[in-house]
């Protein structure tokens, strides 16, 4: 996922763009990893204007502190995950700078729930075909 760069707040991006000074509260960002280390973060929110915010859970625990705020500069449009979180696999370049290598949206997927209901129905049909309920529990049907 080239073209996306993450940068610590109040630092210029490698492209020379200054981060928005209005975005305050970036304190708490701390790095304890080695240069080149690949880590994972889970973002709870990415703004529509592509400059992001966030995040809750750090998959790579030594990378950041909880609730740190980072800016994202992206050539490609980023979107907010639908009722979910965004996952970014990042590579640490230097303090405050990362390259996003992989990006996945953990969207709430209605179709997954529909497919699961289909699975549940198949299970119920099979179970009913093989077992019958009695006073003493389920007994195997003779023709099962």
């Amino acid at each position: 996922m080239s073209g996306i760069i993450m940068v610590r707040e109040n630092r210029p991006s490698p492209k020379g763009e200054a981060c928005h000074q209005s975005m305050t509260g970036g304190v708490g960002f701390r790095l304890t990893c080695e240069i080149g280390v690949v880590g994972n973060i889970v973002a709870s929110n990415i703004n529509d204007n592509q400059n992001l915010y966030f995040f809750k859970r750090a998959g790579y625990e030594t990378l950041t502190e909880k609730d740190a705020k980072i800016l994202i500069f992206s050539d490609k449009p980023l979107r907010k995950a639908k009722f979910g979180v965004t996952f970014l696999k990042i590579k640490y370049i230097e303090e405050g700078f990362f390259i996003v290598q992989d990006l996945h949206y953990g969207d709430y997927q209605n179709i997954k729930y529909f497919v699961s209901i289909v699975g549940l129905i198949i299970f119920l049909v099979l179970f009913n075909k093989e077992w019958r309920i009695t006073k003493h529990g389920w007994r195997l049907r003779h023709n099962a």
Binding site: N40, V42, G59, G84, V85, F87, H104, Y105, G106, D107, Q109, K112, Y113, V115, S116, I117, V118, G119, L120, I122, F123, L126, F127, K129, E130, W131, T134, H136, G137, W138, R139, L140, A144
Partner: protein, 155 residues
């Protein structure tokens, strides 16, 4: 996590390969850890916000044994056979879950409380869950067709 259809199909594949019967018992346990996890939705109606952190046990080996002990009395069937099918069903569930990258999902401790290592294979992303659904359906159909061909050949 995969969808429930994938869990059902993976259970069926295992039953077909190892010729296990009754199939529905394997599938029941292949779905059971997720059924147990869904108990957490009770928090919408009751003040039990911390319930979720205890339900992970359904995805552990000790949880599988507990589940087995709970469901065994409900089945009028040889205990040893039920136990075997329950363990196979649970392994099929855990194997399918562990194929997924846990970035979006809770991380499970399969050998809790003896071994606190979080284990996952992590080759599939949650947003590509359908890969495992389609693959498992295709494998199941191939096995079924192969069985039919073999039966025709034998007869």
């Amino acid at each position: 996590m995969p969808d429930w259809l994938s869990h059902v199909i993976i259970g069926l594949i295992i039953c077909e390969i190892f010729n296990l019967k009754p199939k529905s018992l394997v599938i029941f346990v292949a779905l059971l850890p997720d059924f147990v996890t869904k108990i957490s939705y009770l928090r919408l109606f009751f003040d039990i916000q911390n319930l979720n952190q205890y339900l992970f046990i359904a995805h552990t080996m000790i949880g599988a044994l507990l589940i087995t002990m709970i469901i065994l009395p409900f089945f009028r069937y040889p205990e040893l056979k039920v136990f075997k099918l329950v363990i196979i069903g649970w392994i099929s569930h855990i194997f399918a879950d562990y194929l997924f990258n846990f970035a979006f999902e809770p991380q499970y401790l399969p050998f809790f409380p003896f071994f606190w290592q979080k284990i996952n294979i992590g080759i599939i992303w949650a947003d590509y869950y359908y890969v495992i659904t389609i693959t498992s359906i295709m494998i199941y159909l191939i096995i079924k067709l192969a069985r039919q061909k073999l039966q025709l050949f034998d007869s």
